[in-house]
Amino acid sequence: MNRVIVTVVGKDTVGIIAAVCTYMASKGINILDISQTIVQEYFNMMMITDIKGCTVPFDVMSSDLQKIGEDMGVQVKCQREDIFDKMHRI
């Protein structure tokens, strides 16, 4: 499985999705699904991505996205889908 869940948590700001998506497009990461919600005034976004065609290793992608998040004052986290799948699906 090459699916990675990308979560973005923080104060809502213009251009968060654009910045993350632009990076993903440039690295060949395919976005399968996006959903978002507001919890206690915090913006929560989750992307399900396929990194099969990704041109950089997982660690680089993860730290690049984290940096993009930091620049916009939000927290971006990349995790392999398996941890959620294992915990919530039998």
Binding site: I5, I48, F58, F84
Partner: protein, 455 residues
Amino acid sequence: MINISEVLETNKMIEQENLDVRTITMGISLLDCASDDLEHTCRNIYEKIVSLAKDLVKTGEDISREFGVPIVNKRISITPVSIVGSSCCKSPEDYVKIAQTLDKAAHEVGVNFIGGYSAIVSKGMTCSDVMLIRSIPEAMACTERLCSSVNVGSTKTGINMDAVRLMGDVILETAERTKERDSLGCAKLVVLCNAPDDNPFMAGAFHGVSESDAIINVGVSGPGVVKYVLEHLPQDTNFEILCEAIKKTAFKITRVGQLVAQEASRRLHIPFGIIDLSLAPTPAIGDSVADILKYIGLEQAGAPGTTAALAMLNDQVKKGGVMASSYVGGLSGAFIPVSEDQGMIDAVNAGALTIEKLEAMTCVCSVGLDMIAIPGDTKPTTISGIIADESAIGMVNQKTTAVRIIPVIGKKVGDIVEFGGLLGYAPIMPVNTFDCSVFVNRAGRIPAPIHSFKN
């Protein structure tokens, strides 16, 4: 497909409720390292450990980064050293050489503990067992990452009282030899009854002779997650709903452990052994088994009802965890160390929790009297008496029990002792000072209980 609320739930467990995988422990058999030459044996041991475990720490860190879940410890357990060194060690000093080799190997591969400086003497002690046990104080004093354990009894064999008596002396001597560091040596030394062969948790981890060449065992954790769930249930929630909530949480926690274990096994090309379903607390605020007991409805751990609440908690954790993992083993139960659990420390300070109550609690959970600091002037026979009591509980109830007790040299009841890191800190607890030396000084062993004859 996974939805956002599930993702947020998992990440909240990790970020706010201290969900982590407590340890990936690689079990390594050292049976093929034995020889009749000490130098040769030490070289074999070092080379085998370093070659098998060289990628353990990095693999743990990679998995942790990719899945976003902390893996706190990477550790090694080995074949009990009394067996490995039996043909080449002619004195306790020879065993200390092996201890130093193990410590060096642990530093080389970067693990924080290596366990298995052990002797299994539940029925009798060989000459090499006695030499290893006598070398423990020196071994604990001159190493940093080595953990030692001695199994003094089992349901099948009874209790080896000669070993129990010897361990009273060895624990005090270990305390004396490490007194500059608040007798820290005793925090890495545990006396067990019914010790499992596949326990990933220190200080009692060793790689039993029934195990294969190398294996990956994983210990999960998560008292903070269970606490959070109970915190959000109304106070008048009935037992059915309470138990279901604990079970579901234990299931989720254990699935993460299972995933990590399988990944580690795949990446290291070493078979997966077991998941240890234990609620293992840390000194971090909220990551406490005592706090769970409070939310179940006790003012402090140690209040009447504590043993029942703990029995229920322990059982639900197992019921939830068993289905989440393909193989369960090790100790599997709630841990109740004093120094490593802020709620337990608070209970002792409040006068709610005594050694006697802790002993009762050990009847219904893993593992035993754990990380308890006692006055440094406690008699060795008293320590042996405490070990005998705890072993009897294990022997009769067909469960693992253990004693990891620290007589802190130079400290008295009410003083505080600081061990640092995951080992935490503890108030010195009073010990019953009535004499038991006549009982402890009897030679031989206590016979196995009648219900062990099942053939």
